[in-house]
């Protein structure tokens, strides 16, 4: 039993000359869903909120508190990026539960894009808060000899951020396929439940690691 490679993208259809993979379509669907929910909840924000507005406010405030505890300063500049990252990852990882949908994080390109966004925004926040000179100086912090190691760790931590998410989601998808192949009807259900747990934990870990990286960049201390 040989699956298609998880490293290659599975192309669903071609839009002119541009191949569109299933992950991209799922991502569009998730973006539309998130925008729709936020628009419905915040269309007419009121002091006495409706149910949906209340729920959205609770979620955003909970994420803001978490970020504030990790970064140790006002979470306002980092909230849009990190909260969007978390909400998107939750929806993307849990889309495995919807019949027929595959989580876009189970293919290598979506986690790679997310990790690249985190990588770039860490430097952006660091330079904006500390200034270019003092931000670059933190690479030589304990000693100038450690400069190559610091630069290397910058690359490896982004790489492992990508591969952690991809590896967990992909291997779970594989496991589900194998279990469904062995016993089709009821046995996959506990594994699906486990998949919900794994998806939530991975979304949390990805976001908290991104927050820790941003926090380390803006405060100039090591994590």
């Amino acid at each position: 039993m040989m699956h298609e490679s998880p490293i290659a993208a599975d192309i669903w259809f071609h839009l002119g000359p541009v191949p569109i993979s299933t992950a991209v379509v799922t991502t569009w669907a998730i973006i539309c869903l998130l925008v729709l929910i936020s628009w419905l909840g915040m269309r007419r924000p009121q002091v006495h909120p409706s149910r949906l507005q209340m729920m959205l406010e609770i979620v955003v405030e909970a994420i803001a508190t978490q970020i504030e505890q990790v970064v140790g300063r006002n979470s306002q500049p980092y909230l849009p990026l990190l909260a969007t990252l978390f909400l998107y990852l939750v929806f993307a990882n849990l889309s495995a539960v919807v019949p027929g949908a595959k989580p876009p994080t189970g293919h290598v390109e979506t986690p790679a894009a997310l990790a690249a966004i985190v990588f770039l925004s860490v430097h952006y926040f660091g330079v904006r808060t500390q200034g270019l000179r003092s931000y670059l100086a933190h690479y030589t912090r304990p000693n100038l000899l450690l400069l190559p190691l610091n630069v290397l760790s910058e690359v490896t931590r982004t790489f492992s951020l990508m591969v952690r998410l991809f590896g967990n989601m992909m291997s779970h998808e594989f496991m589900l396929a194998i279990v469904a192949f062995l016993a089709g009807l009821l046995l996959p259900i506990p594994f699906l439940l486990l998949g919900v747990l794994i998806g939530l934990i991975q979304a949390y870990i990805f976001t908290i690691l991104a927050t820790v990286f941003v926090g380390a960049a803006v405060t100039g201390r090591e994590n």
Partner: protein, 80 residues
């Protein structure tokens, strides 16, 4: 034996031995965190957050092994 067979054996060895170390390390980390939470339940929030970040760091080693296995199985540079 062909390159493909060697690759499959190599992937199995990489994952199986690569899982041992991180498993032991994560077990120790969780045990230490449980101990700390039992002693100081009011610090549970900070402890569990730090625990998650630490577990993610430890897990990285196992994930590197998984990457090696995937490369061997799906993107093998030696098998044509």
């Amino acid at each position: 034996m062909t390159i493909e067979m060697f690759s499959i054996i190599g992937a199995a060895i990489a994952v199986s031995f690569g899982a041992i170390g991180p498993a032991l390390g994560e077990g120790r980390a969780v045990a230490a965190a449980m101990d700390a939470i039992a002693r100081q339940p009011e610090a549970a929030g900070t402890l569990s957050r730090t625990l998650f970040v630490g577990l993610a760091m430890i897990e990285t080693m196992a994930i590197y092994c998984l990457v090696i296995a995937l490369l061997l199985l799906y993107a093998n540079p030696f098998a044509g």
